[in-house]
């Protein structure tokens, strides 16, 4: 009796906690509403399954608890019931998987007009690079990294000369323009994680990974590292500022290009 | 991972074939069990030790297939500098073939109850296997002297790793062979002897097969582009 009651309380308590919990996702600031919607669908289906299972179990524990005269029913299997349950489960799974795969195909298909932005991770800070007037990022190599070339850009690549290098400052992005984020690391695994954008991807030394999103809300968002990268992992913070086009251009005009930076450093 | 998955699929089909024959569809709660079924179990068709070796070989095979997978995936990357494998490996391969043949001979002799034949076979197999290991060590030395150390290039790292893993398996086999030899010296019955010798022979054939595959991989894989492309394509 008590056991059944506690089981019911666990089920009800979980649902109540879900509704009353002050801990919920951050307000979204990107185009990935679909991810949130898929998550909600999953919550409904799994929540219903959880309550049904624990509720049924509690009822069984109550109804078929051992009492004098209680005997169990001998029934090795019931094919029809098992088949019916399999089909129901498969439908539930499909209802979660189908929207999931649909959204994933959007997630991996970068729009053609997306602007490339590079984020470089190292222990334990972030740097950024924006393409210059030519709209292209120049090539880079870890082997070229030095005190005067912290991101290892190729000095012989003309496409890289006008790239805007942002070191130890915030990344600014214009609102409503799709961004393809190219991720590079020069030492260990990192992961550029802004909860409000919903999308993220690991950065792997030795290769370039990517994801894309469109910022849909102006504001300043905190970026964290989401892949263990050594003892400084929790301190690896950054900031992304999403601005209107005009504000963004004003900010951009104040930034240095790779060529300017190299010239300054050489002059020193 | 394609090589591993193919090997794995092979193992799975053996397991599936075996399971299907075990009557997984029977309803065990029904009482009317045929008497034959009672007799059938508890009398396995294969000696226990052989079954044990079979399971071990499956595991060892999977281990090698994983290394091959890693090798092929790594090979496809930019900084890979293939080197010609030492000529000595051809001679070593020949020695291992002879070793395997000698043990086969020993196992045939054991089946016929021919004690001196077993002794000759074991001795020849053991000595040639040792010779193979010495040859491998010499190949290492040749490479090291020529300046190709494990850290030089991934190709070298894999060469040392693969030959070392295979060599350790040969060493393990020699321990088992030594045990069979001791039994022979101690005058064990032919029945016991046969079991041990047959296991050694099976294991030696596995060693040979594994070596030939690995050698082919080391010597030829880089030139077979479709193989490399197939194996490494999706898993960069």
């Amino acid at each position: 009796m008590t056991v059944a009651l506690i089981l019911v309380l666990v089920a009800i308590g979980s649902v109540v906690f879900h509704w009353l919990s002050p801990w919920w996702w951050t307000p979204i600031a990107s185009n990935w509403h679909y991810i949130d919607q898929t998550l909600i669908i999953t919550f409904w289906i799994t929540g219903a399954a959880f309550v049904a299972v624990v509720g049924f179990m509690a009822w069984c524990v109550f109804r078929y608890r051992h009492r004098p005269g209680q005997t169990a029913h001998y029934e090795p299997e019931n094919k029809k019931l098992e088949l019916w349950l399999t089909v129901a489960t498969a439908l539930g799974v499909a209802a979660m998987l189908a929207p999931g795969l649909f959204v994933w195909s959007q997630f991996v298909t970068v729009p053609h007009d997306a602007t490339e932005v590079e984020i470089v991770g190292q222990q334990w800070r972030w740097s950024y690079r924006l393409p210059g007037k030519d709209g292209r990022l120049g090539t880079s190599d870890v082997r070229l990294i030095s005190g005067t070339n912290p991101l290892g850009l190729n000095p012989d690549d003309p496409a890289g000369q006008d790239d805007v290098v942002i070191d130890a400052e915030d990344l600014h992005l214009p609102i409503d323009r799709p961004v393809k984020v190219l991720l590079r690391s020069i030492d260990v695994l990192h992961d550029f994680y802004v909860p409000e954008f919903r999308s993220k991807m690991d950065m792997i030394p030795g290769s370039v990974t990517y994801f894309w999103f469109t910022p849909t809300r102006t504001g300043s968002f905190e970026a964290l590292c989401a892949e263990l990268c050594g003892i400084g992992h929790p301190m690896m913070r950054g900031r992304v500022v999403v601005q209107t086009e005009a504000d963004y251009q004003a900010w951009l005009s104040g930034q240095r290009t790779f060529a300017q930076m190299a010239a300054q450093l050489a002059a020193r | 991972m394609i090589v591993t998955l193919v090997f794995f699929a092979g193992l799975m089909s053996v397991a599936a074939w075996w399971l299907v024959r075990q009557g997984l569809g029977t309803k065990p709660w029904l009482q009317a069990q045929p008497a034959a079924e009672l007799v059938a179990t508890g009398r396995p068709s294969l000696p226990t030790a052989k079954m044990g070796l079979g399971v071990f070989l499956a595991v060892a095979g999977l281990l090698l297939s994983l290394i091959i997978s890693a090798y092929v995936m790594r090979m496809d990357m930019a900084d890979w500098q293939p080197r010609p494998v030492p000529r000595l490996l051809w001679a070593n391969t020949g020695v291992l073939v002879f070793s395997s043949a000698a043990l086969h001979w020993a196992s045939v002799a054991a089946r016929r109850g021919n004690r001196p034949g077993v002794q000759d076979g074991l001795l020849a197999g053991g000595i040639t296997a040792l010779l193979f290991l010495v040859g491998q060590a010499l190949a290492w030395r040749q490479l090291a002297v020529a300046g190709y150390r494990p850290a030089t290039n991934p190709a070298e790292a894999f060469f040392y790793l693969i030959t070392a893993v295979h060599g350790l398996h040969v060493l393990g086999g020699l321990v088992a062979l030594g045990r069979a030899g001791t039994r022979l010296q101690a005058g064990a019955s032919m029945v016991k002897l046969r079991a041990g010798v047959e296991l050694c022979a099976t294991y030696w054939h596995f060693l040979l097969l594994a070596w030939v595959s690995l050698f082919a991989l080391l010597a030829y894989a880089p030139s077979v582009t479709w193989f490399v492309a197939l194996c490494s394509a999706p898993f960069r």
Partner: protein, 587 residues
């Protein structure tokens, strides 16, 4: 044992190794220490696993202290914290759960439940335990090595694991990799035994479909472990070479703290593939024995045949096979080829179907049963609740696009602790309460058992259920100190403190269990041979605890399946497997 006919006209038959090879101990040392008896080895495995598990439990208290009350405890600095989480994770997954289910329960139960006298290769079995112990000692040694144990996280991802920004770079990582290699070698020796014993040493009448589900679970999990651990071995050896010889299997060219290193061209993703090719099956290596054991606990204590036995067996086999093609769902945001997401999300969600089916059959076994709420039954119920909860959150993380925001957050931590931490541990406790009387001849104290259950079950649920919501909020995992983060409200810190207090309470409750374990050895109620009125063979031994060789003069003969509970027309509400009475269904 039949001779294999061959073309050469076999004159020499194969030896009949089973009867005459049964090993006999001659001294106290060979009977209890260097024993080749699977029962003793099983107990040795269990005690070692529980001991090292206690170390991991203490580590979890320390990390909870830090998370709940950051800045209060000076000695938990970032290096120490990362060392704690790494060792906690690795010990719990490999050295406790795997070793206890397969080495402990497997060794004790396989021969007994199959009516065999012992494992088929007893000497190798003994070596397996000693190598396992050596692996544990090497692991423990890393606590005392210069620089301490590795702090790379239990996934040991390179390049971070071998670089200086990670604690334990000098010795810790080396000892960890060596210990893992030893564990795998030792496990392979044991695993060969478990598999071949199931294949070869079943007693007369014990067809595969008459085996208890415990054996099906352990057997399938062992096969999987034999096939999965080599991947970890390959990864460990390669990383060891990267660390010691300067090879570049997993190490790309990189700059560490402004210094160009000599590495070049290696692939960190390759390690992740190898690791998870082992790591995902590992989840089921822990889960399948738990599934099997819980099936038997439920059937026995609900006095009802397990519902849908055939479906249960098929599901175990299907889960075992499928679990090898889902590994990359741990790598959705690792930067692997994005199109893999489609394949691995589909396989991952498909595996939910046989798993759900098993769950339904446990519920349907309770349904119309005669439920005795004994301590093992309580733990089985606790398992169902936590497993359902953890399994359902798995559907979030397996569905590739939902995983993107949730990966690497506390949601993941909550999920896997619920599904492969709490749930299997519930089964381990249930199993220990259930089989302790067979091992010692005495029952564990019931009152202590109930207190232990309620604190552990409700406490664990209170720890991990709210933790999901921290993850949903976006709190990342593996943070020594969350500090001031814009999107994290103060209430989240309060929740963290609450979780820590509950975690310490649950931790203390485990001491009740340990006390019970030792106290009942002397003072427990005498159990007799079959205190639960169970059908399976281990309860039908002539002596309790079972003597050497298990069965006295003659091995039992099996006449029925393992689940003849409450058969209509039978005298009692159970019929042992070796009872030839012709009661039961004929059609």
């Amino acid at each position: 044992m039949g001779d294999v006919a061959d073309a050469a006209g076999a004159a020499i038959p194969h030896p009949d190794s089973e009867e005459d090879d049964l090993y006999h101990p001659h001294s106290w040392l060979t009977k209890y220490v260097f024993s080749q008896d699977a029962k003793v080895i099983g107990v040795q495995y269990s005690l070692t696993a529980i001991s090292i598990g206690m170390v991991a439990l203490v580590l979890s208290w320390l990390m909870r202290l830090q998370l709940g009350f950051p800045g209060t405890f000076d000695f938990i600095d970032p290096p120490a914290y990362y060392q704690f989480i790494t060792m906690h994770g690795m010990i719990m997954v490999v050295y406790l759960l795997t070793a206890l289910f397969l080495g402990g329960f497997g060794n004790y139960l396989i021969p007994l439940m199959l009516g065999a006298r012992d494992m088929v290769f007893p000497y190798v079995n003994m070596l397996s335990y000693w190598i396992y112990l050596l692996a544990v000692l090497v692991l423990v040694a890393s606590f005392f090595a210069p620089g301490g144990p590795t702090g790379a996280g239990w996934t040991l991802y390179p390049p971070q694991a071998v670089l200086s920004g990670t604690p334990g770079q000098e010795w810790g990582i080396v000892l960890m990799l060596v210990s893992l290699a030893l564990f795998i070698i030792g496990f392979t020796m044991g695993g060969l035994n478990y598999v071949v014993t199931v294949l070869q040493a079943r007693t007369r009448g014990m067809t595969l479909m008459r085996m208890p589900l415990t054996i099906w679970g352990i057997f399938t999990a062992t096969v999987m472990a034999l096939l999965a651990f080599p991947a970890l071995l390959v990864g460990a050896v390669m990383m060891l070479l990267d660390r010691l010889l300067g090879t570049s299997f997993f190490m790309p060219s990189l700059v560490e703290m402004g210094q160009q290193l000599r590495y070049g061209g290696g692939s960190p993703i390759l390690f992740q593939h190898l690791f998870w090719f082992f790591g995902h099956p590992e989840v089921y290596i822990v889960a399948l024995p738990a599934f099997g054991i819980v099936s038997d606990l439920i059937a026995t204590h609900a006095r009802r045949n397990i519902f849908g036995y055939r479906m249960m067996v098929w599901a175990i086999v299907a889960i075992g096979a499928l679990s090898f093609v889902v590994w990359a769902h741990h790598m959705y945001v690792s930067g692997m080829h994005p199109y893999f997401g489609f394949f691995f999300a589909t396989t991952t969600l498909i595996i939910a179907i046989p798993t759900a089916l098993k769950l339904y059959n446990w519920l349907l076994t309770l349904w119309r049963g005669d439920i005795h709420l004994t301590v093992p039954m309580l733990f089985a119920l606790g398992f169902i609740v936590t497993f359902v909860n953890g399994g359902l959150t798995g559907l979030f993380l397996g569905n590739v696009v939902v995983d993107v925001p949730l990966s690497d957050t506390m949601f993941v931590v909550a999920h896997f602790h619920m599904v492969m931490g709490v749930a299997p541990v519930m089964v381990i406790f249930g199993g220990l309460y259930h089989w302790y009387p067979k091992v010692t001849g005495r029952l564990l104290n019931e009152t202590l058992g109930r207190i232990h259950f309620w604190v552990t079950f409700l406490g664990a649920y209170l720890i991990f259920f709210p933790m999901h919501y921290l993850g949903l909020l976006g709190v990342p995992r593996r943070y020594h100190d969350l500090g001031q983060t814009a999107f994290v409200p103060d209430s989240a810190h309060t929740l963290n403190a609450f979780i820590s207090v509950v975690a310490l309470t649950v931790g203390v409750a485990q001491l009740i269990f340990l006390f019970n374990l030792f106290w009942s050895l002397r003072h427990g109620r005498n159990a007799g041979g079959n205190p639960w009125n169970a059908t399976t063979l281990e309860w039908q031994t002539p002596e309790t605890p079972p003597g050497h060789g298990n069965w006295g003069a003659a091995q039992p003969v099996v006449y029925r399946w393992a689940y003849d509970y409450s058969v209509p027309g039978a005298e009692r509400d159970f019929i042992p497997q070796n009872d030839p009475t012709a009661v039961g269904m004929t059609r």
